[in-house]
Structure formats: C-alpha cells, structure tokens
Symmetry: C2
Subunit: 333 residues, 2 copies
Amino acid sequence: MDAPSRQIVLASLPEGRLTTASFRLEDVPRPKPAEGEVLLRALYITLDASNRAYMQGATYAAALKAGDVMYGRALAEVVESRADGFAPGELVFAESGWRDWAVMPARVLQKRPRTQPLSHLLSVYGISGLTAYFGLIEVGRLKAGDTVVISAAGGAVGTIAGQIARLGGARVVGIAGGAQKCARLTGELGYHLALDHRTGNLRDQLREACPAGIDLYFDNVGGEILETCLPQMVVGGRIACCGSVSTYDGPSPAAGPRGVPGLLVTRRLTMSGFLVTDFNARRERALADLRGWVESGALKVPEHITEGLETLPAALVGLLAGENFGKRMVKVG
Amino acid sequence: MDAPSRQIVLASLPEGRLTTASFRLEDVPRPKPAEGEVLLRALYITLDASNRAYMQGATYAAALKAGDVMYGRALAEVVESRADGFAPGELVFAESGWRDWAVMPARVLQKRPRTQPLSHLLSVYGISGLTAYFGLIEVGRLKAGDTVVISAAGGAVGTIAGQIARLGGARVVGIAGGAQKCARLTGELGYHLALDHRTGNLRDQLREACPAGIDLYFDNVGGEILETCLPQMVVGGRIACCGSVSTYDGPSPAAGPRGVPGLLVTRRLTMSGFLVTDFNARRERALADLRGWVESGALKVPEHITEGLETLPAALVGLLAGENFGKRMVKVG
C-alpha cells in the first residue's frame, strides 16, 4: 500500500467572507519524485492574507479554482531527491501547498540554512521581515525624524516594520484592531503610540498622534484606513503600498479611497506599490541587518504558531479576522 | 466721479454642475493703489479646470465663498505703481481675479517679458506648458521608447504634453472626448493615436492601442479613465498625477478608482502627484527648451481665446464640459 499523506483542498470558492467550510481535508497517497524532482515533508506552512486574494482572481499569483490543493508556502525538509544539488535533510522554502508531503521540481526550490528557531525563516528572515525592511527603507525612504504610521501594525509585517522604523530614528505610530494588540505594540515592541481603529474615531486619534502630519505611511490594508491617512499626509509625503488586506476577504476589489488622485496632486504625494522580490539583489544585506538586530535583542519577533495541518483553514480565517499578533504559521512536521 | 471697472462675482456656490447662473457681473469704482501696491489692467485672464475645484473647499488655494470676486490668474499691465521696481507698461502675472482692474501688493506679482504673441505667456510658457514639461520629464521620467498615454489630451496641458512626449521619442496615445478633437490630436499635433472616450469602449481601445501595456500615464482627469488605465499599466509603470478634472465639477471628491492600492502593489506602480511650482528651480531650463521647440516649429501651441470680461463664466463652464482644444483664455484688455 502507498504511504499516506494529507492535503487540504479549496472545495469551493467563497462568495463573501472566507470560512472553514470552503476547505476539505483529504487523505491521499504520498507522491513519488520523478527525475529532477524532490520529495518534501513540510515542517511549517506560513499564512499570509494574500492567500485569500488568490481566490479573487489572478493577483500576485495565478487564481485559485475550486478543487485545487490550497496554495501555501512552506519551510520543508528534503526526504528523497532525484535532482542534482539536493540531498535528504536539507531545508528548502517552497510553494508546496497545504499538504504534509509534496513533490516539487528542484528548480523552484530555495535552500534555507538550519537557523534556530526554524520559524524565524518564515517570519523575520522570510517574506514578512524583508517586506518590512525594504518597504520602509527602499520604497518609503525612511529617515530619522520621520513620523511613520503603520497599519495592521500587529500583523506579521507591521510588528517588524514598527521596530525597524524606530531603530531608524522615526517616531512610530501603529494602527491595529483592539486594545490588547495596541498595548502589546507599545509595551513589547517599542511603538511610540498605537491607535485602535475599532473605537471608530481614527481620524481624530491620528490628528492628535501626528499633529505635524504623517511623513511616511506604510500601508498594509488599503480601504478606509488609507482614506483616513491620506488627508493627514504632509506635503511631499510617501506612501509605501505593501498590501490591501481590507479588500481581500470579499468578492472583488472595492472602489479606491477618496482623495486619489486629488490629494496626491495637491499634497504632491507619492504612492508606490512594491513586492519584496523587487529587492532580491539587496537581500543578503537586509538579512545581515535583521540578524544583527535580532541577535542583539533590538528586534523582537512575535510569532503565532498552531500545530497540525488540520488547523490551517481556521488559521487563515483567523488571520483575515485580525486575530493574530505577529507572524502566523502552522507547524505540520 | 471714480473711473469705472467691472468684476465678476461668484454669486452662489454651485450645488451640482457649474452654470453661468452662479456668476454676477458688477460695475465698481476702479481701485487706487496704496504704498507698496500697483494698479493693474488685465490683458488676458486664463481659465483652468482647477478654478472649479476651489469651489469645493480648500485644495490648491483657499476655498471660494459666495460673494467673492471669482478667483483667476491674469497677464496684466502695470498702469500705476507705488512700489519700487515696478513701472507703468511692464507686464506681470497675477492672481488678480476676474476683473478689468485690480490693485495688488507688488510682492505677489511675477514679471513677464513682452513675448509675442502675449497669449503664449499663459499657454506654452505658462503653467500649462511647464506642467506638461515637468510632469513628463521629472515626475514621469519620460524615456525614448515609452508608450505614453495622456488623458484630456485636447486640453491646455495635454496638447503640449503629447508633443513633448513625441519629441522625447515616445509612442504617444491621447484620450479625448469627441471624434473632432481626436482628429486634431493626430492630424495637427503628432499624437500617434487618439482614443475617443465618449464612444464608451475605452478599455478595449486602450488594449488595442497599447498591446504591450502603458509605461507612463499622464493623468489629467482621475476617476473612471484612471481606473481604466490602471490595469493596463506595465509592471513598474509610472503615473504622473497632474489633476483630477473628472471630480471637480460636482459637490465633493468621489471615491477613488478601483485598483488603488491593490494594483499599485501587484504591478509595483508609482503614482506621484505634483504641482508645477515644485520645479521652480528648473524653470528657466524648461522655458528655454519650450522656446526652442516653438521657434523651430516642432511644438504647436493650440489656444482657444474669447474676448470680453463678460465671456469668462461661459468660458469656464465650457472648459469643464470639454469644449476647448488647447489653452483657454479670455482677452479682456
């Protein structure tokens, strides 16, 4: 009999907000690698809000269809290799989906060192940490003395970004949902201020928090919070567009914020979208900086880890509902 | 008896689209300059779509209120001077409003040379020409081989911008309202293609006109046309946000385009707003370039001039309705 494996399939595309009812856990035979392929055992599967966006159509990646194994990125271990340059026991980062075992062509795998804890490879040394770093430094042109506002400040990117902004000499204001997250941002991560958008008076809170205006807005959410920040930008302000979480968990992208493009003109604002991969050439330098800060204790790495492949659907639904603080992932291996 | 003058007052703020009923022509005594002031006789008053935006609240300039003399910029002649450095007969550019005669403090006046024709000082050598120049070259980082799309291509800025883009080696696609304007863009101004947005299938027209995507979009209008261009931008494309005419002639700014910020992220687009005054330091260089092109015949200067102070209200209403081709102004002196 074939060795067993499990996978989670997107049983149906969600019509409104995503629920766990959209997913189905399946037992399948463990796949076998062909020439040039590698058999992987997933150790950690990382969750990103953008996973939901793939259900809306082609965005960052190709669109997901009902019946597909759910898209997901994993830190995985090579168990069997039929490809040159890969040996059992090596660690790789792979878009291997929501499954225990996967066969992947060797050419799409990215090797990773066996850093401890392994989870850091998916948080601070992974896409989240590098996104925070490049978004602030390259796209946002962070400088000392800036007033920086970061939305989804309690998320995987925001928890790192706020600390990098502070290390860069900025005054850092976070926006997050809920008093508890706000308390952690200022208490544990050194945010100068944290504003709770759920209390409903964000405009006034921002005005009080940033009396001279916002120099740099690191936007993880788009939508209403972007609309609220826009009129409070200084002349010549920069908006680093990292993501648009507020628009992912619905049928399709909504209308953009009021003030675009009007306020961009009158305030001479620049909004720049970016992907972390745009900065691959400077990746090693960024990782060295991040490692230095983590090892010295200057940069804390909040992670939110659950165990078991079967917890993935609830983890993604919870991520979209804003339940997590820091990088969310599932330990599967 | 005092010498006479005439002025046009904004009698009431428009509730929907602007009509001439919002204005009132008044006979008033000619003003007299005090110490440090200058008496001006307006020669040409320039019309800009942004004049309408001032009725929505503070934007580029302070908001207009009912009862105010209508805001306007003029090329004017000094008739009497009680200020050092200004002599009768000199030409100045002034925010002197919709009136025949005005008294202004000397410090807010900008001297202008007596170039012929004088109207060029308000079109190609004025805000419109410099806006086209800096918007393409500095903000849009125009380069040879770019596919450039320009909206409101038949307007004061668009008629100049399209020609500058062509002179810079770009393939230039204009968007304008009406077949007649489109014919003039390609026939007289050297646009490679002109698309009529009034025929209602702009998305398909753009796709056919720009099969490899839009590298640089010079946006004069915002709104639906911006929304249509956004998904057709290349990865890393640039959007120079010059104005948002589509949103001016109504009660207040509408929701922004779908795709902001989502498409900015996935396509790594940059949207930058600008004002022509941001580039004052490079103004002389720009004027020298523009003068060279005009004198060699490489750059044509469409102007739409009516005569008489009393034609100003209809001229602004017509401008907002897209009636003009090229720079619209009224000869009053």
